[in-house]
Amino acid sequence: MKSRYRREDERQLFTLFKQLGLQIERERDLGRMIGYSIFGSLLDFRTNSNSQEEIIFGQVKQIHSGLEVVVDYAKQKEYYNKLCELKSKVDPWFRTESFPRESAQSRLMENIFSRLYTYYSKSYEDRLKRDGVAIYNEVMRDGPLEGKKNILIHDYNLIDWFFVKGGK
């Protein structure tokens, strides 16, 4: 007998945040994990495509994958270890003047970094946390979506709205 398909079973920010929220008790810790995970995941994004749509969708899928890994760690009560790992990847971008920043291929990550570095270079951790809390609350309010393409567009726009445009 086929199991009943549920909208929330599709990989999207709502389901991933919901799973994470079950494991992490504090909203501020959740915000930090989300912020660092999004940024950290985009650092690893690579593509050979010339299609704008594929590049956008690829970045969102990269973020989804990164969050899935975080959820796994959180289920084993080891999310803090994962956070430390993400911090070791992300922090040098802000702390080291000579850090080779050309390695990133994600335009979304560049835009996020540009905003953080320009306005919050010394307090980027606090900003990542707050943006993480903000996107978490918005996603949970919106609820789950249907349709792969719809999800990817929606999730991309939300990440862009909160992490690049600052939610304004």
């Binding site: 929220g21 909203e27 810790d29 919050y120 307090s123 606090d126 946390k129 919106d142 789950p144 304004k168």
Partner: protein, 520 residues
């Protein structure tokens, strides 16, 4: 004729047309916020049809924003002579940076008023450096309607302070700052801390480094001569909290206790809120944010009750109170809820059957829960609202000789007086502890009028949820409401503090309800 009209055209930097919802939210403060800066002069346009609507809405809805705006316009009209050189337009000089004009017949058709027509008439009558007048409203339908016609429509940015402001109470530190503090014996000059963190810092703000390591912005208060006001701060610094504070023992006067009326802080956030926000009298305005289940109501309730209890001379001495003067730190508690929640135009409390307490107790359930889990559980919750000497609105008197924790209740008044935002006119509160609940359901202007009532010797505790699942006040949004506005306005002052309790409170049912598409 055309040349004369063009010569008469006044020049403005920007022209604004605020809609009535903006005045209901922001009151007459809207005018100050729209003043031009750096030598520029702006114009606020008040068409008579919108003024008429504002008057009707002022009668229909509670909240004094509309009424106070109309009163302010009347004062402006009387004080400043109008420039009537343009037909149907009366211009009043508000300040160097702002003129206010009313627009009436024959310039516009007041029976069939059209914003589009008004915009065209304004363009013809005034020169504006920004190419077109700006409509200001929070209403989505007007953004879509007029934005779709190519008109400039904006939110009232001066009221837009989103939930992000609630995170200002406890901010994340960085390794450099933590290291610097540890190198300097746990304390550094505030300017150095700001430099390292790259942002402003305010008195009573907390910096978090780890789960247990926090630093606090502090200093020595400088008071005015009669010590009624804090003028400044001497030696402003950032200081790591003492390691002993990790045990979350609460200092009340000269004693360390682990609970207040049976309630212990469960984590460092709750500890910081209690020790540095709810307890200290020098924090005259404390804003505590959090969702349901975060503990904000419990902590606020028990610390408030503790602060109004009449203790014996020895205990008063321990607490730093006047040993010779009987009484608690405050005379009583005023519990203030938004009018929309408790009564008001949509739900008339008077029509409900039963005693007043029975009618409103549904709105006090979170306090009753707090009461029942504390050491107060041996006393009926209703007793908190009863007068000791006569039957008040609750139709009965308080029981005699109620004691708790070695203290007893004020023999001259209720412990808690419940009131609504609409009933504050003409009142000011002295030696009172004001609990302002559900602050996200007050408009920014309402919150301002409430806080102006707080008199000498009083303390205001503002409670709210910056990420509410729902807002009962139709005017308020998560971006525009009394809670976020009061954080933005008051955080820079030395007498205020803010803590957000971040324990996740979203229930499984609430999450599942978010998936529910009712229109399918």
């Amino acid at each position: 004729m055309k040349k004369k009209r063009e010569e008469q055209k006044k020049q403005y930097h920007e022209i604004f047309v605020p809609f009535t919802d903006v005045y209901r939210l922001g009151g007459p403060e809207v005018f100050k916020n729209l003043e031009g800066k750096d030598g520029n002069k702006n114009l606020v346009v008040a068409p008579m049809p919108l003024i008429d609507r504002l008057e009707k809405e002022g009668e229909q809805y509670q909240g004094s924003g509309a009424k106070d705006t109309l009163d302010s316009l009347k004062k402006i009209q009387k004080r400043y002579p109008a420039d009537l050189s343009l037909e149907g337009i009366a211009i009043y000089h508000f300040s160097e940076g702002l003129d206010i004009c009313s627009v009436d017949k024959p310039l516009i058709d007041t029976n069939d008023f059209s914003i589009t027509e008004l915009e065209a008439k304004l363009k013809a009558s005034f020169d504006c450096e920004k190419s077109q007048p700006t409509l200001i409203t929070t209403k989505p339908r007007y953004h879509m309607k007029f934005g779709g016609r190519g008109m400039s429509v904006e939110d009232p940015k001066f009221l837009l302070f989103g939930p992000d402001t609630a995170h200002e109470g406890i901010i994340e530190g960085n390794e450099e700052l933590f290291a610097k503090l540890q190198e300097n014996g746990g304390k550094i000059n505030l300017e150095d801390a700001k430099e390292i963190l790259g942002r402003p810092l305010y008195t009573h703000q907390f910096i978090r480094f780890t789960e247990q390591d926090f630093a606090r912005v502090s200093g020595e208060y400088i008071y005015n001569r009669d010590t009624t006001r804090i003028i400044d701060m001497d030696d402003p610094h950032l200081k790591l909290l003492n390691r002993t504070e990790k045990s979350k023992g609460l200092q009340i006067g000269s004693r360390i206790v682990d609970n207040i009326l049976g309630i212990k802080p469960l984590d460092m956030e709750q500890y910081l809120a209690t020790q540095y926000g709810l307890l200290p009298p020098e924090v005259e305005l404390f804003i505590i944010c959090g969702g349901a289940g975060s503990g904000k109501t419990v902590l606020s309730y028990v610390t408030s009750i503790d602060n109004v209890l009449w203790y014996d001379e020895q205990e008063r001495k321990r607490r730093g109170l006047n040993e010779k003067k009987k009484g608690g730190r405050y005379e009583r508690i005023i519990l203030l809820k938004p009018f929309e929640i408790v009564g008001g135009s949509r739900r008339e409390v008077g029509f409900l059957p039963g005693k007043l307490y029975d009618k409103i107790k549904g709105h006090l359930s979170s306090y009753e829960d707090a009461h029942k889990i504390s050491d107060l559980k041996g006393i009926k919750f209703e007793e908190m609202f009863l007068h000791p000497k006569f039957a008040n609105d609750f139709e009965t008197m308080r029981s005699k000789d109620l004691k708790i924790n070695g203290g007893y209740f004020n023999p001259h008044s209720e412990v808690i007086e419940l009131t609504y935002s609409g009933f504050l006119r003409g009142r000011s509160f002295h030696d009172t502890l004001l609990l302002i609940d559900e602050a996200q359901n007050f408009t920014p202007y309402e919150m301002k009028t409430i806080i102006t009532r707080v008199g000498p010797g009083s303390k205001a505790i503002v409670m709210g949820d910056p990420y509410p699942d729902q807002l009962d006040n139709p005017l308020c949004t998560p971006e525009i409401n009394g809670l976020t506005h009061s954080i933005k306005e008051f955080l820079p002052y030395h007498y205020s503090a803010l803590v957000m309790l971040t324990k996740l409170h979203r229930s499984q049912m609430a999450e599942d309800a978010a998936k529910w598409k009712a229109y399918q």
